[in-house]
Symmetry: C2
Subunit: 149 residues, 2 copies
């Protein structure tokens, strides 16, 4: 459905302004879908993002600031997210011996298992791949990168 209809606005100041709004709207659509899928697993999209970062480094541990650098939303509060995941036993946290300011974080077996289950559900949400060719997806990726400069 065209963005004009989605938000009942049939005129935009420019194609650029429309693009900004379209990105905000599409983000909202995507996040809502992801949140719904993750809800039964008891984690938020941000927590999911942290888990995936840790899986990417597994079985290595990485520091909190290292996680932050890799996060989609850099401004968020990584310490608290990590603590939430620790409470659920999805990750482990150990103070780094070489530099006692740092905290080494590592995904647990339980965390990896959760990601496996989530993957199945995420695969079920295949609207994007149903509606776009791989070439089209690639085109958007290139243009978004270009847009941010």
């Amino acid at each position: 459905m065209k963005i004009e209809e989605e938000i009942k606005q049939n005129k935009f100041y420019s194609e650029y302004q429309k693009l900004a709004i379209n990105i905000l709207f599409t983000n909202q659509w995507l996040t809502a879908n992801t949140t719904k899928i993750l809800k039964p697993f008891g984690i938020s999209p941000q927590q999911y993002n942290v888990l995936r970062i840790l899986k990417g480094q597994s079985p290595k541990a990485i520091s909190v600031s290292n996680i932050m650098e890799r996060m989609i939303d850099k401004m968020s509060n990584t310490s608290r997210l990590v603590e939430k995941l620790r409470q659920k036993e999805l990750i482990e946290r150990v103070t780094c011996e070489k530099d006692r300011r740092q905290v080494d974080v590592k995904i647990t077996k339980k965390g990896l298992e959760l990601l496996e289950k989530v993957k199945t559900e995420m695969n079920a949400f295949k609207t994007i791949s149903d509606n776009l060719t791989e070439k089209e997806a690639s085109t958007i990726n290139d243009l978004l990168d270009k847009m941010r400069g």
Copy 2:
């Protein structure tokens, strides 16, 4: 800068997964920029969205649910946003006489003036139009619409 570098992840499961992450990241980038511009004016991006909707209808008043339908983020809590804007005297709120459940909301002169000032600042943030041609912006718009199905 390519999304791979932005989040230090050099491999993606698919071009579709990369697209999902790219949209989340670009949204974050866009929202952070907008928030910064709006901050001196004392309003959040969501409040700005409501003001723009009301400007679009001005001098007509529209109901809270009518605003909600036009919002980018439909799940948000329009009542409270409207109340915040009323406290700042940027909008007016009157109970509808024909249907006393409804509340008619209208942007004030002060609200319109604020939008004018914001516009100047928003125009200064022209990264998008600097980096993309109008045709490219249009291409993304069409593909995002297609993607959501």
